[in-house]
Symmetry: C2
Subunit: 696 residues, 2 copies
């Protein structure tokens, strides 16, 4: 569908340009162009390659791009609003315990699959890796409903989703280990070893299937396979570190600009109401500007592949490999010769150099405005492309410098270039640059290195890549503290408790809690149904601590609003003897209740009632003594809806420990006590507020 | 030093055989043998290669082995008993919070370094990877004392140790990412992302330095670099899975036998008292038996390298590559030809096959008795060697089978062998087998796969390796539940709370706790110095809960035995007015104390005393009102030694949650309460006992 923007295969319309020309077995086949492949002007029988041809070509290119992007955004808007974006920020939140209903549903899955194809084909500056992770998580979520053990237990389901995220990356990049690492480092919140093994297995199966399906039609499972061997010298660690620093700066700039634009979009009424127009405008501008630069016109994957590659002896026709060959060391050599890398740039390479600089700027601009529009869009591939361009540019410069140094100091040990051997390899710099920029944008480290070397299959460059990624993270964190995903989480205000930072403040829990004096509590034995209903009406807390009485304030348990609401409504509906004045008891100890309301009270109950009462006991229903005696209201026993083991912390507990407990145990609320007496409560929201304030 | 067992370099005694022959520039150089290299019989001017030569050769081989091993064990025994073994089980415990004084000290470091060289050179069946991790942790520990922030804080120090473990593996295998993964999966207990980045950086620096030092004298950073490209077909996943199953079985057998032998050693008086003799006997037997088999005689690393390698066209002189070449498909081909792999075994290969089987058995036997003796000993390399042998054996068989099938069904799609191309590559099977056996022994998964492909540099085989490792883990866990390190931890009875397993019992905290009725408590305000001293004398608990009084039993704090002991002794020594009857107050609220003991009490204090009193206040010392009034004993204020924020759980908390808290928050003890009243306490020991009982 990407090639549809250029033309169509005359014989078999479903083939892309490469396969069209292959199947045509055309003798005029050259550079992926052949007679069977019909460009749009040719389709309308206009064969002359002049300005009209160019205009028609341009027109159809943009038209198709706009049509596909428009279709994608309309589908997303109409059927599944959650299908837009990369989905990784939301999945991070879901894996940390936040529930977004429908985010991983089947409609999201279907629409995102279709939308992703259309959006990728439209030539927008977006990648398919983030959406692939989202799609994999949708599959994980949908399948988990087949197994009640997982479908009904949110914690178990999150284990499945962690493994799904790993499989998503495994398939998107052909990188099974990288997938596991991505899930560990970026996506997942809790990642115990057990989940790691399962993710590992999931990624393994994904890897086997990918290899079996063989979608790229090659023997390689790695997307950007680099099959030449390269050496690097220690001096080159300096340019690699420079690439890392550049990656950090570019990444931060991108995050800052993108967040600013997204915040503007959030507040702008016109943009908010017209996402379709926004996408169409962005696509039209992207298409129009991309058309004139060969490096932006081709797909980002193809560009990355080209930039990672070396210039072979036979590649001298390509602009990117146009070195002046016959002047090195004063030895005149042939064009087609091993000694093709001289560092002395030819005209073609000068042109390519300028085009690449413009492509870098254009890609940055496009991606800033694209990431966040209402189509499925990832940013791995655009980031890699930007980095690969920057790296290649630096590589070409370093190559020239190295040859110059080599000629000046031919006996130096530092620059070991020999005639017929490469000195600095621009392809390697492209790889390192790609990793650096992606590192600057996402702030991943280990997973990124693993993904990069599964992508390229070259183990030799693990150390340069590591160095660049490390620098990118340091510089990036210094400039803009959050990675792109965390920045989007913050922008959208999701309740995500970041588990990366340390908060070494000397605050204690007692200083952060909401005091129990300001809130409404439940007393264990002395409240009535009416009072509880008033409590629910007058407050909007999500839960209430239960204390033994309001003087002693000893913590007995915790009741959520939802449970309380449900059980009171149910009691009012089904138990006719429950009145507003019915006392309510929060205790699991049934004997105690019976003791307080001596048994003679229940002696007058008729048989039917008696039966109902005992069945209520057995079925664990909410009414214990469901009878009324001489007008005395029936007491309600609600011990079973109370969490009898709520988490408590002492008021002197350092906040660092409290935050640790929230993160590691996945708490939503904890009660603060001193000597067993309730002092107040701390919720996840309080922690988030506290941490945000701590930053300033 | 390994080559010293065979002979010595005549010109330069410090060179090994390979470098000796290289530097000699000998024209007679062949198969690493040359004139400069003098064997021991030759040293004594006996050149004739007959039975006497052989006997002398054998005698010196064993003699040197015994001498080196004996020296190693004597050093370890005399100077640093902790220097023995691999150290990984102990490091796991240390990283989980257990303190073993001196285990990571400088003596351990020095002796283990020297001992490791000697032990490796002695030809014992041991590896150097585990000890390398231990050495790296020693360095991390020693260096951390230079930075008080880390040296004085056990938790911070453990972060350093986690990174050290990563660096250790990074250097041992030339596998920086593998090192990080090893630290994550096997060594570390808590591994937050922050520690991961630091480990990553540490491993990166280790990798750069390794590459700079270049100890193997090659351009490759990977130890067993495989530079040929191989394909595998889907049918081959069956033998790969078989290798995985075999690895699980062999690993479990090894663990079982090794643990049995180590348990026997623990209980045997003679073995316990004479570790030197044990090592000498094991070394003598290993040396004597290894001498006669070329595959056990050479070093394990060299063996692995050979087994991983392919048979090149020029390798037909080697036994391992002796295929009958000229009968395939009826086409007579030359000996030196591309079509060297026929699957039809020659005589040499038959011999090699038998020798390899014997080598496998011998290695298994040696390693069972070697791992655990009192010399530095790892088991990565022996395990890899066993696996590589098994894999190579299977590979040769599969190769033969494939060719046979190919000849029977030449048009089948399943077995795509062509003349001149390899069908099944025995070297690949060796790699997969090595991973499988190491997986069966250690039960690592992701880290093992990463290490394997950093070791070999071949990305293509990540899926076969993953499959084999997965099967090895499944089968291994089914046969013997623990990996070798966990098994040794259990054998030694270290207090290690395994964070891998789930314990889905429906027990609650109240059922597991030690009841407060059975233990001694501290009351906040009503105890005297004498009573506390009696408490310390009469019990051996490591800490005591502090309650407000023995009727209400509200939890106020927790006091450790060590602090209490120290502060009471100090008070007795320095404060002359403290008597056995002095009341003790555990409260941080000084006003409260002053209130209970009205100020006029202190009016009679003389000037000197007054000064001392205020200085006691300022310096935070333990005595608050250090005066005596008319024979009334001086009250002691010990609030500052009490942990005022102890962790508490409700008695109805499920044990699963409690275990989770112990694991994730690194607790040593928690108090069990109901409605704020103390019911009992649970210590880490109680949890370990509970979990062990749960298993049966």
């Amino acid at each position: 569908m990407s090639d549809l923007k250029d033309g169509i295969c005359a014989d078999r319309f479903w083939l892309d340009r490469e396969h069209c020309c292959w199947s045509a077995n055309d003798s005029a086949f050259k550079d992926n162009d052949c007679k069977s492949w019909t460009t749009w002007p040719e389709m309308f029988h206009y064969y002359e390659r002049d300005w009209l041809y160019g205009t028609l070509d341009f027109f159809f290119f943009v038209l198709w791009a706009v049509a596909m992007a428009g279709l994608a955004v309309s589908l997303v808007r109409t059927f599944a609003p959650y299908a837009c974006g990369s989905g990784i920020p939301e999945i991070k939140c879901i894996l940390s315990g936040f529930v977004i209903r429908g985010y991983l549903g089947k409609w999201t899955f279907v629409i995102k699959s279709v939308g992703l194809i259309l959006a990728s084909a439209s030539g927008l500056s977006l990648g398919k890796e983030g959406p692939m992770v989202h799609l994999a998580c949708c599959i994980g979520n949908i399948f988990s409903y087949l197994f009640p053990k997982y479908g009904l237990n949110e914690a178990k389901k999150r284990e499945i989703l962690s493994a799904s995220a790993a499989a998503g990356v495994s398939v998107a990049f052909g990188a099974p280990i990288g997938g596991v690492m991505f899930s560990l480092e970026e996506a997942s919140y809790y990642f115990p070893l057990k989940t790691m093994w399962r993710s590992f297995f999931c990624a393994l199966v994904a890897g086997v299937i990918l290899r079996f399906v063989n979608p790229f039609g090659s023997d390689q499972t790695s997307m950007f396979h680099v099959d030449y061997s390269m050496r690097w010298t220690f001096m080159e660690l300096i340019p690699f570190a420079m690439l890392g620093i550049f990656g950090g700066i570019l990444g931060s700039l991108f995050i800052w600009a993108n967040i600013r634009w997204c915040a503007y979009r959030k507040n702008s009424r016109w943009l908010g109401a017209n996402p379709v127009y926004e996408v169409i405008i962005v696509t039209a501008i992207t298409g129009a500007m991309s058309f004139f630069n060969p490096y932006t016109r081709k797909s980002a994957s193809a560009l990355i592949k080209q930039l990672f590659d070396r210039c072979g002896p036979e590649d001298y026709t390509m602009d990117l490999c146009d070195y002046n060959r016959n002047i090195t060391y004063g030895v005149v050599v042939d064009k087609v010769d091993d000694n093709y890398h001289t560092g002395d740039l030819g005209n073609g390479l000068h042109t390519a150099f300028m085009q690449l600089i413009m492509a870098l700027g254009a890609k940055l601009l496009f991606t800033i405005f694209t990431f966040g529009v209402k189509v499925p869009s990832g940013l791995f591939v655009p980031s890699l492309a930007m980095g690969a361009i920057a790296g290649r540019l630096l590589g070409i410069k370093v190559e020239g410098l190295t040859y110059a140094l080599q000629q000046s100091y031919p006996n130096s040990e530092l620059w070991t270039c020999q005639i017929g051997r490469d000195c600095a390899m621009p392809g390697l710099y492209a790889m390192v640059g790609a990793a650096a920029v992606l590192g600057g944008v996402t702030r991943m480290t280990v997973s990124l290195v693993v993904i990069m070397f599964e992508l390229t299959g070259s183990l030799e460059f693990i150390v340069p890549t590591m160095a660049a990624v490390m620098f990118a993270k340091w510089v990036g964190d210094a400039i803009y503290r959050r990675g792109i995903y965390d920045a989007h989480i913050e922008l959208n205000g999701y309740p995500f408790l970041d588990n990366k930072d340390e908060y070494p403040y000397s605050t204690v829990a007692g200083q952060v809690m909401r005091s129990s004096a300001e809130m409404r509590l439940i007393e264990q034995h002395s409240m009535t149904v009416g009072e509880l209903e008033a409590l629910l009406r007058e407050t909007n807390c999500n839960g209430f601590p239960v204390v033994n009485d309001h003087r002693q304030m000893l913590v007995v348990g915790f009741c959520t609003r939802m449970d309380l609401n449900a059980v009171l409504k149910n009691a009012r509906k089904t138990q006719q003897y429950v009145t507003t004045n019915s006392p309510v008891h929060f205790s699991t100890d049934v004997d105690l209740v019976n003791q307080s309301f001596p048994s003679q009270q229940f002696l007058v109950v008729d048989d039917r009632q008696q039966q109902q009462q005992s069945s209520a006991f057995v079925s664990g229903d909410n009414v214990v003594p469901s009878s009324t005696y001489a007008g005395v209201p029936v007491p309600l026993q609600l011990g079973h809806i109370m969490d009898v083991a709520p988490m408590t912390v002492a008021d002197q507990t350092p906040m660092e420990t409290v935050i640790d407990m929230f993160r590691k145990l996945g708490l939503r609320t904890t009660m603060v006590t001193t000597n067993g007496r309730l002092l107040g409560i701390i919720t996840k929201k309080d922690i988030l507020t506290f941490m945000r304030e701590g930053e300033h």
